[in-house]
Subunit: 274 residues, 3 copies
């Protein structure tokens, strides 16, 4: 009873997700299929990669993660499977799994090339149904990984956006806006702790909002007031208790979030990071 997860930009209005599941269950009836999300913005590989990073951590070993954010479907990008010490990752070779496998040992990478595993005729527009889902099902059912296709030496990797360390500050950025309007950044807990230790504290600035209070939970600040906290991802989030930081602070993916010394917050030029 192996777990197969699905992360796509298919939405939930059409039959696309249902078709993937039918294809899987036709080949591996005992599959435990889990939807991560089907609401990745169409073609947004980075959003898909961040989502897969966060989601895949919670799954049992040997889970098979199928990802389909595939604007190049039917073109010349490869279809691949990435084997790590924890899981298998199946999808287009366009960077979608870059973040999820970033801290893992890569055991093998293979091109999906065994026609016996595909659903025929293979369409030019729906490789999720015709290639990724059936390969996942066959692997879950015990088909040997080495017969999926020839090994590749590498796969497309997106750069993780590292924060920029400057003399008296760290410049991070917003990576993701969640349903509650929380803005998740690329600033992790360790980075903040070290900065605080060497600087005598931390102040967070986002655009014109300086000295945003650090807290431990969403309710640490008053309702409607901006708050920064280490969220469930282990990354710094900007939040507004009972509101939406994204809407109320006008935050977008890519917006700069600055970590400063507390005393210098108001005085310094907030534009230094930009």
């Amino acid at each position: 009873m192996r777990v197969i997860t699905l992360t796509t930009d298919f939405g939930q209005v059409d039959w696309f997700v249902g078709a993937l599941k039918g294809v899987i269950l036709s080949r591996y009836p005992r599959a435990s299929i889990v939807d991560i999300t089907h609401s990745i913005p169409p073609g947004d590989i980075r959003a898909g990669a961040f989502t897969l990073l966060q989601a895949t951590r919670s799954f049992p070993p040997r889970t098979i993660h199928v990802g389909v954010v595939d604007p190049g479907v039917g073109g010349d990008r490869e279809a691949i499977v990435i084997e790590t010490e924890r899981a298998l990752h199946i999808g287009p070779d366009n960077g979608l799994f870059s973040f999820a496998v970033r801290d893992q040992v890569i055991r093998s990478v293979r091109r999906l090339a065994n026609p016996r595993l595909f659903q025929h005729p293979i369409s030019r527009t729906f490789h999720g149904r015709d290639m990724f889902a059936p390969v996942a099902a066959h692997l879950a059912a015990g088909f040997p990984l080495r017969q999926v296709g020839p090994p590749l030496t590498d796969f497309v990797r997106l750069d993780w956006p590292e924060p920029e360390h400057q003399a008296d500050r760290i410049c991070g950025q917003v990576l993701y806006l969640d349903r509650f309007g929380n803005a998740i950044t690329n600033l992790d807990a360790l980075t903040l702790t070290r900065f605080a230790e060497s600087s005598g504290g931390v102040a967070i600035c986002v655009g014109r909002h300086r000295g945003i209070q650090m807290g431990e939970s969403y309710s640490a600040a008053g309702r409607g007031r901006p708050l920064a906290l280490i969220g469930s991802t282990g990354l710094l989030e900007i939040a507004i208790h009972g509101g939406s930081a994204a809407v109320q602070l006008g935050l977008k993916v890519g917006a700069t979030v600055t970590v400063c010394r507390p005393s210098g917050t108001i005085m310094t030029n907030a534009g230094v990071c930009d």
Copy 2:
């Protein structure tokens, strides 16, 4: 193969629901996980409570219902499990299960306090993933309930909004607006039957709309005309066949719905209930 249901305000865009399922399957691979909904309006405990009341009725005995509408996450509210004669209910102690367990015998209430059952490190913002889901999985797998944590004498209960009985009428209110725009009220079938028997019939008024016709199914009135009927919840609904009562009559949760005698409908002051 025990059933675990999930009712949250997480939406289906982010990875939050997927993470819950991964955590459950990591601990209890044979779980049959059912999504009730993840579209409770953020933080709306009453909407969650009404949804859980309606949904949980349809599940088999010994189902484990996980509810996460948790605006106080990370604050001082407790995390609890409520055992009734039919099911287990796991979530924040904020009233979310009040309506679902209202007509059931409460066998026990316990605080979730056994750290062996949690996923560590426990975040301050995502107890669904770190506490509720893993506890549900362990209980489904047979972990003894009494070792989850110490017993509590009670839990937070929301008042069920009872209709108000007046001399010649009953004043009810809208509790829920569904996807089709039907407005579900707190007036049940028995209440209406008794009123009709003693008053020689029933007329329904909503705002300026008086004498709304009673029917047995949505198609009982002409398309576009308001209609009142006992819906699948056993409660009076206001509906418009082929339309939306919520939109077309401007109904909100909390709006007054009056049950009058048929003869007095037009004459009386419709404002009496307000």
Copy 3:
């Protein structure tokens, strides 16, 4: 471990889908339940029928497909099960399964009439929960089909909208707009191939857009340019790579799509099909 699929217009906000699943699992705990979609536009039987046509192809033999797009619920339409050589189809007798079973041998059609199989009391507004789901579960669990109810000689069938063949062109129409804004038509690959062979090629016209380029995949045309291709349904689609054909070309369901000879594209009166 039989597969039961659900295709409805219930949305995913309320508890309706959860209730269906609870009812099924109460009667057949080993069910493998798959959501096709719950976002059929309310009451849109044709959209439901097209979705079921596309989705059901991907499922294993003996799957039980439950469809609930049922604007006449509680009225005088029958509740039926259609048995084909591949699958069972359970829902209202309003045409919802017309397209899915169109190319299959119909083995039997029965009215759902055995009260032992229903959930009581049967509401007048939610036959999905009270009739279709429990019947599906009982059949999945092995209850004999012939005891579900009396045989019927036929069921309601929607006409498939055939393309119109004219002297020098074929007039098709848009049947469905998907999440990506692709417009799926009633023109199949064989029809196009034959026309191309006899006419020395193919040109596609949609409204004022004449001579739309044929391609093999979404990326065959430049970003932002209209493209026609045989999609994963085997039908001609109008697409815009990196955009939405529905939005950018103003396409609606029912819009005319014309197949012309390449040389005549610009000269001929594009209104001939309308």
